[in-house]
Subunit: 175 residues, 2 copies
């Protein structure tokens, strides 16, 4: 599928409401269970999404669009949420994510990005040169990836309860 900005807005603007609809008010066990050692619960994932909004996507977008010669992105901290989410309820995190995503969507719109900008470049700490299109598509696919992860982590909590049906539920074996 061809990338375009509207298709990315379709997803990026909806994710906070999708997550709120999935997680707000459900039993604590759905929120805090994970897939085992070194894996994340839905609660951890929301904290990770918030940290990305605060430090990653828009910051990198502004580096790519700026007239500065320095185009290197800072590495992203994949574990920041374990400190930053401490003491917060899932409702607080969902609300925080909604507000910062709204703010970032307003910033994104204010850039008036055109197709001519899609090939502008930044320097990723691991990959080297990446384009604005890569960055915006990744922001979008990253939302969907974590949405899929949350659904998978939740489904796995019923691995024992489904009994023999496990054989017909590929999500219970997915990583």
């Amino acid at each position: 599928m061809q990338f375009n900005l509207d298709k990315s807005f379709d997803i990026l603007t909806r994710t906070p409401a999708v997550l709120e609809m999935m997680l707000d008010g459900i039993h604590e066990d759905w929120i805090h269970q994970n897939e085992g050692a070194e894996t994340w619960s839905p609660y951890d994932v929301i904290g990770h999404l918030i940290h990305g909004e605060k430090t990653d996507w828009i910051t990198r977008l502004e580096i790519v669009l700026s007239d500065n010669v320095a185009k290197h992105f800072k590495p992203f901290d994949r574990f920041a949420q374990f400190d930053e989410s401490k003491g917060k309820t899932i409702q607080q995190l969902l609300q925080e994510f909604k507000l910062i995503r709204q703010k970032n969507m307003a910033i994104l719109k204010s850039k008036n990005i055109t197709e001519a900008d899609f090939s502008k470049k930044g320097i990723h700490p691991v990959f080297g040169e990446v384009t604005l299109e890569n960055l915006l598509a990744t922001w979008t696919a990253h939302d969907l990836g974590h949405l899929g992860q949350i659904a998978r982590v939740m489904a796995k909590q019923y691995t024992d309860a489904v009994g023999p049906w496990k054989a017909f539920l590929p999500i219970l074996a997915a990583r």
Copy 2:
């Protein structure tokens, strides 16, 4: 995680609204693209969920709870949606799913199921004996599985657009 009926209601009652929030009003390409030959688009998945509500979950639940000796479930048609969804818009399908799920949740509540019922049995065409707990947990995990599938199918539409970031997005390699 221990199964209970409220935890299943948490998911089953929310799924239609989650899917509506994800899919209603987004670009057609997100709705109709799939993962390649013999795979399903988000549009196909919603049709499959509707067919399950019409012919599978409640029908099987009623067999398990009934006083009849005949406890065999009919096989489920995993491809019925390709005919049944024909000519319908995604909005129509989302609405249809919402209404039939609401109706089925009302039926489920009306059964006043207690823990004593969880071990009641039916005969699955492939697995043989399954319990009511298995059936209700599977209905729930099945929702989450297809939600994860939809997120994955959508994410994969940006496989080219993300460029080198593909290496950091495990969902793009998932099945």
